[in-house]
Amino acid sequence: DTAVSQTPKYLVTQMGNDKSIKCEQNLGHDTMYWYKQDSKKFLKIMFSYNNKELIINETVPNRFSPKSPDKAHLNLHINSLELGDSAVYFCASSQEGAKNIQYFGAGTRLSVL
């Protein structure tokens, strides 16, 4: 039973399209995150939600919008996809009081053509 699951694993789409990536965790954690791993392999935080409240919002284009319907889910919606959005996106979660230990999903490889 996967602790942090993301869907889809692969996403190939055309420039200009709108797409969503879903993330669910069954660990009972209060905080969830989205990271982007770019071509240089750095994992960079994009957003963090704690109990459905946005607490980290890095310098990310506003075409990216996270949505947290409940504390077990954090979805990422991307509007008007651009070539530079191609990357691997990782979802993660952590529990309150131990935010440094984060549990990651397997990643979603997004390719924008």
Binding site: L43, I56, A92
Partner: protein
């Protein structure tokens, strides 16, 4: 500006020998450091960590050393095993920025470790 850097993209060692992975950081506000391990097609998994009040933390075959004055940490794996072959990410966090832990991990770009039988 990358605040956490792993300057060796790859490392190859023989089974049974020691693997040493290095990491440098620039932000003196970081006070907690972690190593994550990542296999292909999987997400990173937590391996070992160290607080800035310590200079060494050991867990089985894995030891992390922290040199705050040099802003440098290293992960030692001894003895190395073929199953240790993976990408290793160094990460750092400012645990309590203004009294709150936001969980903002800053990662290096990873080092690919290959352990040969």
């Amino acid at each position: 500006d990358q605040q956490v850097k792993q300057n060796s993209p790859s490392l190859s060692v023989q089974e049974g020998r020691i693997s040493i992975l290095n990491c440098d950081y620039t932000n003196s506000m970081f006070d907690y450091f972690l190593w994550y391990k990542k296999y292909p097609a999987e997400g990173p998994t937590f391996l070992i960590s160290i607080s800035s009040i310590k200079d060494k933390n050991e867990d089985g075959r894995f030891t992390v050393f922290l040199n705050k004055s040099a802003k440098h940490l290293s992960l030692h794996i001894v003895p190395s095993q073929p199953g240790d072959s993976a990408v290793y990410f160094c990460a750092a966090i400012e645990m309590y920025a203004g009294g709150t832990s936001y969980g903002k991990l800053t990662f290096g770009q990873g080092t690919i470790l290959t352990v040969h039988p």
